[in-house]
């Protein structure tokens, strides 16, 4: 059973399009995250949700909008895609923000904007 699953794994799209990445976790965790990994492998948090509530929103363009329909899902919608959005996007989940037990990561979605 996959703990944190993301779809799609690969996404190639043209500039200006709108796309969504889905994430689901079956671990019963309260908190979910989106991280972006750039071409130099640098990982940076974008958003964090705890029980469907947004708790972290790092300086991310408004074109990126997370949506959490329930605590097992956190989707990422991106409007008007730009070349610079090309990256690997990782979804993650953890028990709760303060336990420090670490986060479980999905396999990533490689987004290529052409």
């Amino acid at each position: 059973d996959t703990a944190v699953s993301q779809t799609p794994k690969y996404l190639v799209t043209q500039m200006g399009n709108d796309k969504s990445i889905k994430c689901e976790q079956n671990l019963g965790h309260d908190t979910m995250y989106w991280y972006k990994q750039d071409s130099k492998k640098f990982l940076k948090i974008m958003f964090s949700y705890n029980n469907k509530e947004l708790i972290i929103n790092e300086t991310v363009p408004n074109r990126f909008s997370p949506k959490s329909p329930d605590k097992a899902h956190l989707n990422l919608h991106i409007n008007s895609l730009e070349l610079g959005d090309s990256a690997v996007y990782f979804c993650a989940s953890s028990v709760e923000p303060s336990t420090g037990v670490g986060a479980f990561f999905g396999q990533g979605t490689r987004l290529t904007v052409v």
């Binding site: 130099k40 964090s48 708790i55």
Partner: protein, 113 residues
């Protein structure tokens, strides 16, 4: 604010040799520390973590790390590496106040025969 520094972007090593990947952090509050491994085209997998207690923590695949509060370091070690250990290794810090993992820039471990 918390930050993590991984000084070595790449570490080449021969198979069966020992390796140490360095990690230093800065934080004004107590931290939890983690090492994650990313194999090519894969997600991140937790190797080990330090939350409290013994400063020497053991993880999967024969890795261990030592928390040194005075030097604000959390270096990762393995006494004998295998080809299969070739991957990107990330050190990360977590504080309750920030409620997020902050990652270092990663160290590419390249194991060759």
């Amino acid at each position: 604010a918390q930050s993590v520094t991984q000084l070595d972007s790449q570490v080449p090593v021969f198979e069966e040799a020992p390796v140490e990947l360095r990690c230093n952090y800065s934080s004004s509050v107590s931290v939890y520390l983690f090492w994650y491994v990313q194999y090519p085209n894969q997600g991140l997998q937790l190797l080990l973590k330090y939350l409290s207690g013994s400063t020497l923590v053991k993880g999967i695949n024969g890795f261990e790390a030592e928390f040194n509060k005075s030097q604000t370091s959390f270096h990762l070690r393995k006494p004998s590496v295998h080809i299969s250990d070739t991957a990107e290794y990330f050190c990360a810090v977590w504080t309750g106040t920030a409620s997020k993992l902050t990652f270092g820039t990663g160290t590419r471990l390249q194991v060759t025969l």
